[in-house]
């Protein structure tokens, strides 16, 4: 446990000591800020039109602002997650520092968990920027905070799974670009697998769509804590970390 913390804090320090973390956070804040502004603008225009027409359409901040924005965050993660994970192991392999870690009295699983938690920590920092934006909603309106919390939990679980896969891919190469590109491709595929269920109802299509991370974030975004979807994300996390551990062991055998 102590060792996980040592690795975690080292990784966090190295994210924030270099421009990586600051750059990612800034870019994310800018892009999300734009999304937030458009969503809010659309919402206020719509509510004014409804008021003027004098009809009582149900409008809801949770449904019409928060929920689509959480969906946007999940898609944004697709671009940011490879950038977070690509250096985790590839960099250590390239510079040889992996030899320090692997010859220290630290278990592989502690190294992996420390690094993965640090990646998740950086992602959580990004989510914090969305929370700043959402805070304005609470100041000017009365959205329900419980669905928002469940939405955040869903985002963390989803990112956790993709970050675990990214961590695994980072152990496969010493080249960060390759690790990043491969992670992006895998994340993208995991998103768009959901599309097949739109035009094909065969069993394979249903199965493929089930494997998509995008089919499982709906319930969270609606504020529903679904056991099935939680288990899906937890299994992706577990599988990703498990593969990472196997890969680290193979690294010892091959290198």
């Amino acid at each position: 446990m102590k060792n996980i913390w040592i690795i975690f804090s080292k990784e966090m320090k190295s994210y924030f000591a270099s421009p990586i973390a600051w750059l990612l956070l800034t870019l994310f804040a800018v892009v999300f800020g734009y999304f937030f502004w458009t969503a809010l603008e659309f919402f206020t225009t719509m509510s004014m039109e409804i008021q003027m027409s004098g009809q009582a359409y149900p409008i809801n901040v949770n449904e019409q602002v928060i929920r689509p924005l959480l969906g946007n965050v999940s898609v944004l993660g697709l671009f940011f997650i490879p950038l977070i994970t690509m250096r985790l192991f590839a960099e250590e392999k390239r510079t040889g520092t992996i030899e320090l870690l692997a010859t220290s009295p630290v278990r592989d699983v502690e190294i992996i968990l420390g690094k993965w938690l640090a990646a998740l920590g950086l992602y959580a920092c990004m989510l914090f920027f969305t929370a700043i934006n959402f805070a304005f909603l609470f100041h000017y309106g009365k959205p329900d905070w419980k669905p928002l919390l469940v939405g955040y939990l869903g985002l963390l679980l989803q990112a956790g799974g993709l970050l675990a896969l990214g961590t695994f891919i980072s152990t496969l190469t010493r080249n960060q670009i390759i690790a990043g590109a491969a992670t992006f491709a895998v994340c993208l595929l995991l998103f768009v697998f959901a599309w097949v269920s739109g035009f094909n109802s065969a069993t394979w299509a249903t199965v493929l769509a089930y494997f998509s991370v995008a089919t499982h974030d709906e319930s969270f975004a609606r504020g529903v804590l679904d056991l099935k979807d939680s288990i899906y994300y937890l299994s992706v996390i577990f599988l990703g970390l498990f593969f990472t551990a196997r890969s680290m062991e193979a690294l010892r055998w091959r290198s």
Binding site: T95, E99, L100, A102, T103, V106, R107, R252, W253
Partner: protein, 361 residues
């Protein structure tokens, strides 16, 4: 302190380390010697639990590298060939991280960091980014991290590679200083380094153990015979070669001479010199040949050799005592990166053309 038992490591196509066994006593400095690619780094990586062996095993500080890997890792300090430094960390920060990885904390860690900063003379760069340090400083920071937790065993992979001569000497002195407190294995392909710093040598080549002995033993083995190097040319310098245009001789009647050196005759002549026990043909050039003779220590054969060569009508271009060093032994044992001296085959009987004629039945 270290017992290596039939340690073997195979990669997909090659055997990097083949059945190596040796032991190291506590407090000793062992030189791990071999040409590049001999399997030094692979062996060290197995001893430090970075690579698992394909077969065989080893005990380090009383613990098995396979069964009790974490215990071993607590008790070793390892400096890989390129120091494993995080370029975005400062020296002291890096040492703190390395120390915590080794399980140290609190005041003990602070104290040890101060100690190794001084010991490895890196205190002046304690707040510098490791990425900006020179090679010599990086090497010493790596060494500081390796000795930080006061390990029983220090494993240093080419600790002086890439350093300038002054830094090499400082590093060697530091390593010598560390012996006694630590058992040290250091790999190198520089022989004087072993002669200067180590008590024991383990020589490996192509993954196989070639020799393991104390430095003193190997040296006395090396110094048991004296060698003399002679360069012999045909009279007149053997200038006239078929491929060269005839050069007008300035002095003397200079009979045009096209004879190539008669190696067999030289060998026969030199063997007759009292005291010479063995003759090696080291190199044969167009117009001369270099021989190496061995003789018992103190036999003083050089004068006789010179007289014998002149008397036989050859030119003696060079005559000097051969340096029979650890280098020589090393090259002989490992098959050498340079041309290995060969034993001149015993003079063969001149081939008779008649021999080819089949007797008619």
């Amino acid at each position: 302190m270290i017992t290596v038992n039939a340690l073997t490591r195979r990669y997909s196509h090659t055997v990097a380390v083949d059945q190596i066994s040796f032991t190291v006593e506590k407090g000793q400095i062992v030189g791990f010697l071999g040409p590049n690619g001999a399997g030094k780094t692979t062996t060290m990586r197995m001893l430090t639990c970075f690579l698992p062996p394909t077969s065989g095993t080893a005990q380090v500080a009383g613990y098995d590298i396979l069964e009790q890997s974490l215990q071993v890792r607590k008790r070793i300090g390892y400096l890989p060939e390129t120091p494993p430094l995080y370029t975005d960390m400062e020296t002291a920060e890096y040492l703190r991280f390395a120390g915590r990885l080794k399980g140290m904390s609190g005041q003990e860690l602070d104290r040890r960091i101060e100690y190794v900063l001084g010991r490895c003379s890196v205190a002046d760069v304690r707040n510098k980014l490791l990425g900006k340090l020179s090679k010599g400083y990086r090497q010493r920071v790596g060494l500081a991290a390796a000795i930080l937790h006061n390990p029983d065993v220090l494993i240093l992979d080419e600790p002086t590679a890439g350093l300038d001569p002054k830094q090499i000497n400082e590093t060697r002195d530091l390593i010598k200083d560390l012996a006694g407190e630590h058992t040290i294995i250091l790999s190198t392909h520089i022989l004087p380094e072993v002669e200067q710093t180590c008590q024991q040598v383990v020589i490996i080549n192509k993954g196989k153990l070639v020799a393991t002995d104390s430095v003193a033993n190997l040296q006395s083995r090396a110094r048991g015979v004296e060698t003399t190097i002679l360069e012999i040319a045909p009279a007149g310098g053997g200038l006239l070669d078929d491929r060269m245009p005839p050069v007008p001789r300035i002095s003397g009647p200079g009979k045009p001479q096209t004879s190539v050196l008669d190696i067999d005759r030289i060998q026969r002549t030199l063997t007759q010199v009292p005291g010479v026990s063995r003759i090696l043909l080291r190199e044969q050039r167009d117009n001369s040949a270099i021989f190496e003779t061995e003789s018992p220590r103190g036999a003083l054969v050089r004068g006789d050799l010179a007289r014998a060569v002149i008397a036989a009508g050859w030119d003696l271009n060079e005559l000097r005592p051969g340096a029979m060093s650890l280098e020589e032994i090393f090259l002989r044992l490992t098959g050498g990166d340079v041309a290995q001296p060969q034993l001149v085959p015993p003079p063969a009987a001149p081939e008779e053309p008649e021999a080819h004629q089949e007797p008619n039945a």
